[in-house]
Every structure is written in C-alpha cells, then in structure tokens.
Subunit: 132 residues, 2 copies
DNA sequence: CTTGTAAATGTTATATTATTACATACTGTT
DNA sequence: AACAGTATGTAATAATATAACATTTACAAG
C-alpha cells in the first residue's frame, strides 16, 4: 500500500492546475491562474509547491525553474528523478526506465559520499522537432 | 589538440575568482567580489558566466543556482556533466567516472528523443558529514 | 470537550536571481 | 579603411524565491 497524502485546500488547488496542464508550470504562472480561487500571494504558492515536491506529487525541473506533476502513477521515487527535455519545443517528460533508475540508484564511487537521491535531466530534440 | 579559448578581460576575472574559490559561487557573490576590479553590474557578470558555461570552463549547479569551475582538466564534456552534492555541508564536486558518462551518453529509449546533453546531480552526505 | 501541538494559511515586505534595451568599444579579418 | 563579430558599460526592470509575523485549522492525548 502506498501512503495516502491528504492534500490541504491550497495544495489540492495547485496540484490540480499543474496536473491538468500536463506540462511544466512556473510558480508565478500558477499564481496568476489561482488568483480567482483566492490564492493571492507568491508564498502561498511556494508553500504548496514545497509540500507537493516533498511528498512526490510534483517534481521541480531545475534547469527551467518549473514544476511538473509526477507521471509515475504512484510517485514513490521522489529520490530518483529523470527527465527528457526538448530544447526546441521545451516539451518535458519524465523518464521511467527501470534499468536507468537501478543503475543510478546503485551508483557509488570512491569519494566516500553516501548517495541518497539524484536528479537527471537529458536535453535534446524530440521526435517532432528533429524532423523539422 | 583542444581548442584554446582566449578569454576576454571580464571573462578572465570572473573565471579566476570561481576557479580559485574551488566551490560553487553565486552570481551576486561573484559580483560583490569583482566590484573592486571595475565590474559593477549584474549583467557584466551574467554575460561572462554565460560564455564560460558555453565553452565549458565552468558549469552551473542547477539546484543551487551557482557556478563551479570545471574540474575535468580539459573540459571537453560540457554536454555531459555529473555532480555530487552534500546536503549537509553543501560541498560540491564534479564526478568524472567514465563508466557513468559512457552509460549516460549512450542512453536512449523508445521516446524518439535524440539526446545530445545531460546533467546529473547526486545528493547525499559526504564522508565528513556522514560521521557526525 | 479542551488542551496541546503540528501543519496550514494569510499578508506584507523584501531578498535573490536574471534579463531587456540601448549605446559604445574592441578584435581580427578582407 | 571598412566590415563583422564579439565584448563592454549602464540603467532599468523582470522573474524567482524567502523572511517575518499573526492567525487558523486539524487532530490526537488527556
């Protein structure tokens, strides 16, 4: 069984918007969209985003300062994220490739670091943009 | 032979500061440090940073909005970067592991994406912080 | 049911990170 | 000398994120 997270009001509103959009959203664009629902300040958005990231419902695309809903059904892998990003159309999708995640989760070297988390971003051209 | 990049005045000043520090530096902290050398405005810093990233002399640590000098002697791998980040002391170092870079450079999946670049950040605890 | 505590909210102000727009100067070629 | 490309200088502003403080809600323990 996976843990059920009961989202609070703001968290629900903000998750729904990101989830419906299906693409990475920036904090202030979210803010703009939720103002009609009474969320007026950046901090309200950032607090919800922080929590949603923490529980794995969304991920931050670091190179874009944007947030996308987790596309791995059960979102157990907050600690192991990989994305592919098209540098032309900016389409982003989450990579779920068990070999890749196994490889990276088991990665270790002689540095003495104890790794507990990783984030990987691949860049390139998507199918559509390649053929243009 | 690798290509020699002749850095301009500002690029040299800013690269030297980052290189000497040996750790990730933030843009505005660089700005503060170089003001005695006549670089007064954020844009002057960002322009040099952009160029230095482009030619691979420095890398951006995306999750930290900070810049670190390339630690791979010849800096041929602007397009394949991996870092280890200690979440306790914030020490960052560049990972140069040929198996890892081979594995990731050759990665492909059935999405139709043509990958040309990646950036990987590992998080955890370094040797020192582990034993505290 | 009330008391305590953690989590969530609301609000204002401010800090931090990054870019736009425009004018000028330098560098190396033809 | 003329040109093209790169770099610089300066001011203003945009975009992203957090600090500080007051209040409220959720919910478990007594």
């Amino acid at each position: 069984m996976e843990k059920e997270h009961n989202l609070s009001k703001n968290q629900k509103i903000i998750f729904d918007i990101i989830d419906k959009s299906g693409e990475p959203m920036k904090a202030y664009s979210i803010l703009f969209d939720v103002q009609k629902k009474g969320i007026k300040a950046p901090l309200q958005v950032y607090r919800a985003l922080d929590k949603l990231v923490e529980i794995g419902k969304i991920h931050k695309i670091e190179s874009r300062n944007a947030f996308i809903a987790c596309q791995n059904s059960s979102c157990q892998i907050t600690k192991a994220t990989a994305f592919s990003i098209c540098e032309s159309c900016e389409n982003v999708s989450e990579i779920s490739n068990s070999k890749l995640s196994k490889y990276l989760s088991n990665f270790s070297d002689d540095s003495g670091m104890k790794y507990s988390k990783y984030n990987l971003e691949f860049f390139g051209l998507c199918k559509k943009c390649k053929s243009k």
